[in-house]
Amino acid sequence: MRQLDSEMNETPSSYTLAELLICAASEAWRGNGELLGSGIGTIPRIALGVAKLTHSPALLMTDGEAYLVEEPVPLGPRGDWKPRFAGMMTYMRVFDCVWSGKRHALVGPTQIDRWGQANISCLGDFHKPKVQMLGSRGFPGNSINHINSMFVPAHSTRVFVENEVDVVGSVGYNPARWQPGMNNKDVDLRLIITDLCVMDFSGPDHAIVVRSLHPGVSFEQVQAATGFALLPASDIGTTAAPTHEQMALIRRIDPHNLRAGVLKNNPPGVPA
């Protein structure tokens, strides 16, 4: 039995970068107890399912619409499989969870700055945008109330901008944004998972630190794709490869392989 377990947890010989990112992103929710997990987008959603089915079974999660489920709902057409609902999570209740701090969302901003501030509203001048996007959505409320992590499928200086993001939706650790008496103690940014590396905010004054590099990626490469200075973690390592168990769960949660369409050309996890 012991031998079987170790076989199950060995690293598969091949996996895609998307699968590596899913496993790295699933770590975001480790130790979160019964928080409502939200994974916005294909890879974050699969990652949440992997977290729930491995290290964090207590997490609350939804079907992506309005119901709470105890088993992750697979992505895409489901045949005869029907989700079983444990309860409701209407948007009104999402707001209640958000405002009480009982949530950890993994979101995909268009721009992120050195302070962890993030933008999905618009690019350019707010009064006459170059590109109008979604609006601020729940970013201001999420970021001031509960834990947030971020997913970036194409790490570049267009995402990790040199100065402040064009519109600060998600708040962060920029002292200039906070006036005396404002309570920002619940601003809690955790992981940034990109196609190059995993970062966190563990540097001095929450500076962004590269924790691990994906196979074949150098720190210099990450720095060159980032508009501000990064710190390497003193114990910087290589992002952990998926285990057989994680790979099996990924296939179960994403039976139509929608993850293959997220990253350009669906590259392998370990470059050839």
């Binding site: 992506g64 009104m92 509203s121 707010f126 009064h127 979604l134 601003v187």
Partner: protein, 292 residues
């Protein structure tokens, strides 16, 4: 008491410069039949408050909007609403962009008839920068915390689409998420509800569905029978959104005279003509719910 009015008289309830709240959420349960009546009407200079979907793009394209108050505008699977995008990128619209939760907070304040409600949401963000009229307030208690005083968002008129209504103004919503329709109704001086099904009295016709009634009939001024009236948005659990139509609509935004062509093709006649133009009532009623 009979609050039913004809769809063709809805536009006469609007006047220039009004503040109109629209229920639903993105491409979900929008009162589109009523919106189409507004598109065809001469009304203009509206302030529109919504969790925005295609109704916002259409109202912008038709030149009905002076000011937009929103947390987002999106059609989900088509993330960027094309005509909203065009209107924003052209500049000139007055904008009040909010966090989603702040929008519900402003509607709540209006419904409770207080000038503002306090919250941390918005602090530290550009919500304060781009809404220079928003003020902070210090807690009068020992904590002394500085909070955003989210101003009330009172509406002249709320437009909602529900599953079932009666002529007294009672309504039932059967979709799994009621969104914030109740708050729109509470924030508004008048509410017009369009519905899939209409009855004389829901207590007699649908006595077992009372839990689907989410706001009181004394908030409802008029009821309009508009079956399939949420198309091209969804009306769960009855029908899903029409992605094919939404894609056509989105594609029109990048064509020369795209909006004029869209209006010509779909908005020239009454709701029956519209339904025929988009594939027929049977087609709409059979649109599957989206799977995520």
């Amino acid at each position: 008491m009979n609050k039913q009015i004809g769809l063709d008289t809805v536009a006469s309830q609007l006047h220039d410069g009004m503040t109109v709240g629209i229920g639903g959420w993105g491409p979900r349960r929008k009162p589109m039949a009523v919106v189409r009546e507004i598109l065809k009407s001469p009304v203009k200079d509206l302030t529109v408050v919504a969790y925005g979907g295609p109704e916002i793009g259409m109202l912008c394209a038709a030149g009905k909007v002076r000011k937009l108050v929103y947390g987002f505008v999106t059609m989900d699977l088509i993330p960027l609403e094309p005509y909203f995008r065009k209107a924003r990128e052209a500049g000139g619209l007055e904008i009040c962009e909010l966090d989603e939760g702040l929008l519900h907070w402003g509607l709540r304040a209006a419904g409770m008839r207080v000038p503002f409600l306090p919250t941390r949401v918005g602090l530290g963000s550009d919500i304060l920068t781009y809404n220079p009229g928003f003020k902070t307030i210090q807690s009068p208690y020992a904590d002394g915390e500085v909070l955003l005083a989210m101003p009330a968002l009172p509406l002249d008129l709320a437009l909602l689409h529900v599953d079932t209504a009666d002529r007294l103004g009672n309504t039932h919503i059967h979709g799994p998420d009621p969104f914030f329709d109740d708050l729109f109704a509470r924030a508004a001086k008048k509410t017009i509800v369009s519905c899939e099904e209409i009855h004389d009295r829901l207590d007699i016709a649908r006595p077992d569905d009372a839990k689907a009634n989410l706001f009181e009939r004394n908030l409802v001024s008029h009821v309009v029978h508009a079956p399939l009236g949420a198309h091209p948005t969804s009306c769960a659990p009855r029908y899903g959104w029409d992605l094919v139509h939404l894609k056509k609509y989105a594609a029109s935004a990048v064509e020369p005279h795209g909006w004029a062509h869209y209006s010509e093709q779909y908005l020239g006649g009454d709701e029956g003509r519209y339904q025929d133009a988009v594939g027929g009532a049977q087609h709409i009623g059979a649109l599957p719910m989206p799977i995520f």
